[in-house]
Amino acid sequence: MSRQPGPPLWLLAELTYRCPLHCVFCFNPVDFALHRDELGTEEWLRVLNEARTLGAVQCGISGGEPLLRDDLEIIVGEAHRLGYYTNLLTSGVGLDEARAARLKEAGLDHIQLSFQDSTQEVNDFLSHTRTFELKERVAKRIKEHGWPMVMNVVIHRLNIDHIGRIIEMAADLGAEYLELANAQYYSWGHLNRDQLLPSREQLVRAEAITNAWRARLGERMKIFFVVPDYYEGRPKKCMNGWGNVFLTITPDGLALPCHTARMLPGIEFPNVRDTGVREAWYDSEGFNRYRGTAWMKEPCRSCPEQENDLGGCRCQAFMLAGDAAVADPVCSKSPDHGVVEQTVAHAQQNGPTAQPLVFRNPRESERLARPF
């Protein structure tokens, strides 16, 4: 890599892997329960400071459920003071009136609220909790405090046919943005992939309904619809490039180029407990491993599209082809593309799958004890 990389403009602070929900598509590592040693308040404040000095300006505060941290207000307050735009990514569980008021006072700029579905039954089933009514109340509270609201609904086979109602609900609750994020098949989503990957017919119908709602709502609510890359044929430019703009800090202090990269074997990512953020971003072997294009093998190495997609996602290459340095198998030029085609073919069948859904919880996590 000859060119000096730019600064990490986006900092994702994953404050905790703990979560009151048990979502079947969670992207926290499957073995999250084995990583319990969370950074303390002072360590987070130092990370915020160092990343801001480097140029980070968007700060996502995530988890797990970040509201489980008692020091959330202190962390948000410091991020605000440093000049970050602060985004809280939450399930809403724990966002009572007192905490909402304290977060407002601390300078929180925006809340992204996740919903699982437009109906209580599916929402509560998919999160394995009774949270639907609570989320509706929280959405109202967010609006009362004057925050802009992004509603995030992970879309998959079990809720995609409700997409019209989901959009209607988001508009009724006053969301400025709605992210209809098709499940990404990492971590718990990968475990449950056969139950979650929609059929092509479901996708086509959902996109048509979404477009009709876009026309109807106009500028009132911006709707993002992200197609699952298994259906794209072309890989995504994952994280806008490895170590390019995006920096994740895990609850236990690992600095990563994306929130799932800790699954990759043979890469030692730096920990902010003993490495400064600048050193981690610019100098660590982990961040430099897949920067740019020099690491590529064929077919990426001679591909005219290599700069557009940078070979896709390293985690997906590892999960589906067993090697993080090969082309992302969702690419139709990948020699491993058959794996994706098989999965997609399976998703066109209607019958129920034999395997039950695996809900994310500490017990399953300890039982499975593997990264993805």
Binding site: Q58, Y85, N87, D109, H110, Q112, P148, E176, Y177
Partner: protein, 88 residues
């Protein structure tokens, strides 16, 4: 949009100078627009206190230029369309 309109950056956006990028940026939920030099100079004056006439006069004075009105209005039209600004 007329000469008396007073453009102001919408409350769901935050405009700020970023030293490391040497640019004005607009921040919003999970996103950022990096503004080019002239867009930044216009937007940082959109605080609701200046009319478009006042804005043009100030920019022409600051950059010792004339005839900026069309460019300023065209940019503000674009900015209003993107909902970066509204007219106070």
């Amino acid at each position: 949009m007329n000469a008396d309109s007073r453009p102001v950056v919408n409350s769901h956006f935050r405009l700020q100078w970023e030293k490391t990028q040497q640019a004005w940026v607009l921040l919003y939920p999970e996103g950022m627009v990096k503004l080019n030099g002239s867009a930044g100079e216009i937007l940082c004056r959109c605080d609701g206190s200046r009319s478009i006439d006042g804005l043009v006069a100030e920019l022409e004075a600051a950059f010792a230029a004339t005839g900026l009105r069309n460019d300023v209005v065209a940019f503000l039209d674009h900015a209003a369309q993107q909902r970066w600004v509204r007219l106070a």
